[in-house]
């Protein structure tokens, strides 16, 4: 306690400064005066008395110093003065400071971002109170782990459990929210009534939700963001009815701020209780994931044993659905252990980047320390201890790291914002909950401290390792220049890595550009607009609804064609739907009687509207109705596979047991995504295969926006509550090529980052070498070397690194690019343009990196360089 008080007083002493010093000076003065008086009284002369007083005191300056050290905290005082000194030094060389800080900011920013992503995606626990008590319940089956359960199974597991307080069942769906004229799709979770109470973050909400769910009335809990965005944070909203997907729901409550549901990557914004509509009573419908809460007195192992036994009883009771499934439990600790490996891999990868950053900055500091040999030697000669100087140099690196960390945090926050741009275009906002939390900030500080030690310690020790006399006397930088230092090899490695990555990004970018032009089997240049319609009527009424929508659409000004199709182009939504097809007279492989064939049901306008060409036969017509003979159009691949010798027209195929006649052959079109392999495909007349949902496709003359607005009006007058969703062909293309775009961007940015670091390392090494060789260069110039010769000499040295690096990089590329061949489209992994481009970039960036020190070398004044002897 007393010590703490003393520490605090000393801390305050830091700020008292001059006044306290004067105070003590006066006290010493009065002490000496009193002592002198006593001396005189004892019979000494004034001078002798004064001398003795001073001797007994032990020297005025020494006492003042000792007093001062006790009054304040000398360590902090010198730290502050070191920081000031370092800051002035950094400001004196702004170029060095800028490059070093930028490098550290990138390294630290990248590290913090990856840490935050790993934390959000892998490490963060359930959104529950006491999350360590939550356990995930999985089934192991012969096919592997299965996370899905039926709701009746979940209820039985919970009812027969003593070790668990309860089990939450949840499933992800999507709902549409209507506000004004706008409607938007939101992700929701359909959950068991105990969901909020078992999670335990908001007990009041938990009770209300459980009660509302038991009552069986349609009700909903809405997310905090939805509450703000659509209802203006209306405090009276709870208890009111809102319209979702065309139905009325009573709002039971608002979820706590930041609550995103159970899946990190897929944030839910609405929560509905499980009802029969979601298969609450079907034991065969495994649509739910389960999470349980352990009672405090039980261990996960006990829960495991108990649930396994219950699972066996269920398998015996319901062999048709539950046979062969063993129920197991994943504890929170187990989950974290499983997350450790991917986390470590992520952190390892970004750790290497940080290491390269630090090595570069260390190189820069080393080069700078070399230039400051004289200053350091002078301070050593004046009595500074080596430890003191190392501490001072480390303070300087610490400043760099602190500024770097500050900027790094800004970089990280900016990178978080990029997340939404990196997500695939979707109706919903996917993505992780990324924000700087205490852990991330602490982590950043730890990383920067590490960076300080990595960047600063070695150069600091190096810089102070000298005997003062020769260092003071000459400019000689000691020892002959060594060519293959650790730093040199590091630079070569960086350049090699950059060359490899640049080759890869060249290939990926070229492939991206080529694939943008690929033939998708429809005309992407058309201004196509897709309306997803699903009014929720029976089939007959739906058919009439679609017909009316199509007719009104075709009549709109600016619409060229309109068509109906069961599914949209290039969309994974329903794209995998298949029909069982058999072909009379054709033997199917492996003795199968039918094969699964993907299909689309379209109407007569389809081919013309989307621009898919018919190669043979006819399109569907209005005459191909529900009561006429069934017909089909097959894709070219299908026709060539099953009727290679003759025409497919007029052949019979049996679709879902119904015979159809092939009336046309269409060109191949991509079904789900652009890079898929071609496969057999059939088109069926929409009228003969009716459905309750359809996609209305419009081709507008120009930009589709006015048409979209007009069509929206039409559809709303037809049925205000029918959900509708619009997409343009551009949006579909973006979605389809999202992966290519992200890959190209990611590899490209990585390549640029690495070449930047490589150039930085090269710059550091060459500057260092030039500084060491000032005198040699001076002599050369005195002996008649031209400035150009000097520039050439330095460039030659630097470009040797670049050349070795590039060659290694190209060899590595040749060996590794085969890995890329699966993602490349229309480009060979050995594409000479990509290789040449990579070398060109590496060489020109290296030239710039060497040019700066080369110019500096050439501007050495020979007289001055020699005179410093």
């Amino acid at each position: 306690m007393r010590r703490l008080r003393a520490l605090w007083m000393r801390f305050r002493g830091l700020c008292q400064g001059q006044q306290a010093d004067n105070d003590f000076a006066a006290e010493v003065k009065s002490h000496v005066a009193m002592h002198t008086e006593d001396g005189i009284r004892a019979g000494l002369s004034l001078d002798e008395a004064r001398r003795q007083a001073l001797v007994r005191l032990g020297g005025v300056e020494q006492v003042r110093q000792a007093y001062r050290e006790r009054r304040t905290l000398p360590l902090i005082e010198s730290l502050v003065s070191d920081a000031g000194y370092g800051l002035r030094g950094l400001l004196r060389s702004p170029g060095f400071t800028a490059v070093a800080v930028l490098t550290l900011a990138l390294g630290i920013g990248a590290t913090s971002t990856v840490f935050t992503v790993a934390d959000a995606a892998l490490l963060r626990s359930w959104p529950a109170s006491e999350p360590q008590r939550m356990v995930r319940i999985v089934a192991s089956t012969p096919q592997g782990a299965d996370y899905s359960f039926s709701y009746p199974d979940a209820v039985d597991l919970a009812a027969q459990s003593r070790t668990l307080e309860g089990i939450i069942a949840y499933a992800r769906y999507a709902a549409t929210i209507h506000s004004g004229s706008e409607s938007q799709a939101l992700l929701d979770e359909v959950v068991s009534p105990n969901y909020f109470s078992l999670l335990g973050t908001d007990p009041g909400l938990g009770r209300r939700f459980a009660a509302a769910a038991q009552s069986g009335q349609p009700c909903v809990v809405i997310g905090n963001a939805v509450w703000q965005r659509f209802f203006g944070s209306d405090p009276e909203l709870v208890g009111k009815q809102i319209l979702l997907s065309g139905r009325n729901y009573t709002v039971v409550g608002i979820a706590p701020r930041g609550f995103r549901g159970m899946t990190a990557f897929i944030p839910a914004e609405l929560w509905f209780p499980i009802t029969a509509r979601y298969g609450a009573s079907e034991r065969g419908f495994r649509g739910f994931e389960l999470v349980g809460r352990l009672r405090p007195e039980f261990t996960p192992a006990q829960a495991q044993a108990e649930l396994e036994a219950t699972g066996q009883r269920l398998a015996q009771a319901y062999p048709a659905v539950d046979k062969g499934r063993t129920v197991t439990v994943i504890s929170e600790r187990q989950r974290l252990r499983e997350a450790a490996t991917p986390t470590a891999m992520l952190m390892g990868a970004v750790g290497i980047v940080l290491l390269i950053c630090c090595a570069n900055v260390a190189g820069l500091i080393l080069a700078r320390g070399d230039a400051r040999r004289k200053e350091i030697a002078m301070r050593l000669a004046l009595g500074a201890t080596r430890f003191r100087i190392v501490r001072q140099l480390l303070t300087e690196s610490m400043l760099l790291a602190l500024i770097g960390a500050g900027l790094g945090l800004i970089v990280a926050v900016e990178l978080f914002r990029l997340q939404s741009a990196l997500m695939p275009p979707a109706k919903f906002s996917l993505g992780l909950d990324l924000h700087l939390n205490a852990a991330a900030i602490l982590f950043t500080i730890a990383v920067s401290m590490l960076a300080v030690i990595l960047c600063g310690l070695l150069p600091a020790i190096q810089a102070t390792k000298m005997s003062c006399a020769p260092a003071l006397k000459s400019d000689e930088r000691g020892g002959p220049p060594r060519r293959f230092t650790l730093r040199g090899s590091l630079v070569v490695a960086e350049i090699a890595m950059a060359a490899t990555l640049l080759t890869a990004s060249g290939l990926v970018v070229k492939s991206f550009l080529v694939s943008l032009k690929m033939n998708l089997g429809f005309d992407r240049e058309k201004h196509l607009v897709f309306f997803d319609l699903g009014p929720g009527y029976d089939l007959a009424r739906s058919a009439a609804y679609f017909q009316q929508a199509e007719t009104s659409a075709a009549a709109l000004p600016g619409v060229r064609h309109a068509a109906l199709a069961q599914r949209m182009l290039l969309s994974d939504f329903g794209g995998g739907a298949e029909k069982r097809v058999s072909i009379p007279g054709i033997e199917l492989p492996q003795g199968q009687t039918t094969i699964p064939v993907k299909f689309n049901a379209v109407d007569s306008g389809y081919f013309q509207t989307v621009g898919t060409h018919l190669l043979d036969g006819r399109e569907f017509t209005m005459a191909d109705g529900p009561h006429t003979a069934r017909v089909a159009i097959v894709s070219r691949t299908m026709a060539e596979r099953y009727w290679p010798a003759s025409t497919a027209i007029g052949r019979q195929i049996v679709v879902d047991g119904k015979p159809c006649q092939v009336v046309g052959v269409a060109e191949d079109a991509k079904i789900i995504q652009p890079h898929e392999a071609l496969e057999a495909y059939i088109y069926l007349p929409f009228a003969q295969w009716p459905r309750g949902e359809a996609s209305l496709i419009l081709e507008s003359e120009q930009d589709g926006r006015p048409v979209i607005a007009a069509m929206r009006n039409v559809l709303q007058t037809m049925d205000r509550n029918a959900p509708l969703d619009v997409r343009t062909v551009d949006y579909l293309m973006q979605q389809a090529f999202w992966e290519d775009r992200i890959t190209a961007a990611f590899v490209g940015i990585l390549g640029l980052l690495v070449i930047f670091f490589g150039a930085l390392g090269l710059y550091g090494v060459i500057s260092f070498a030039v500084n060491r060789r000032r005198r040699e260069i001076g002599i050369r110039m005195a002996l008649g070397a031209e400035r150009n010769d000097v520039v050439r000499m330095v460039l030659r040295e630097g470009m040797a690194f670049a050349a070795i690096g590039s060659v290694i990089g190209l060899i590595a590329s040749l060996l590794t690019m085969r890995v890329l061949s699966s993602v490349l489209y229309g480009v060979k992994p050995t594409d000479p343009l990509a290789f040449a481009g990579s070398v060109a970039v590496v060489i020109s960036v290296s030239l710039i990196a060497c040019w700066i020190p080369a110019r500096r070398a050439a501007s050495i004044d020979p007289m001055q360089a020699l005179r410093t002897e």
């Binding site: 003590f24 009065s30 009193m34 000792a66």
Partner: protein
Amino acid sequence: MGEKTDVWQGTLTLMVLKTLESMGPQHGYGVARRIEQTSGDLLQLNYGTLYPALLKLEQEGYIRSRWGTSENNRKAKFYELTKAGQRRVRKAAAEWEQTTEILARFLAPAEEA
């Protein structure tokens, strides 16, 4: 008179506190002289070390200081014990007595035997 002894580390604090207890408010020079006199001039006190020790005690809250006038009409800084200081003196003195008593027993074993 034997050799003059330097003041042991740690004992100076107690001497200062005890001196202030017996003399009341006193300036640094006075404290120093008094310690020397009390020791029968056996102690050789380096006056310079006294002031950091006084400062430490003040920082710890055992003594407080203010400027005043000495008996010779000189401006001087006077130190006096605080309540905490008085408690401290009693406690430290008791501890010290115990220590010396124990040590004395070790140093004079003959009487026991």
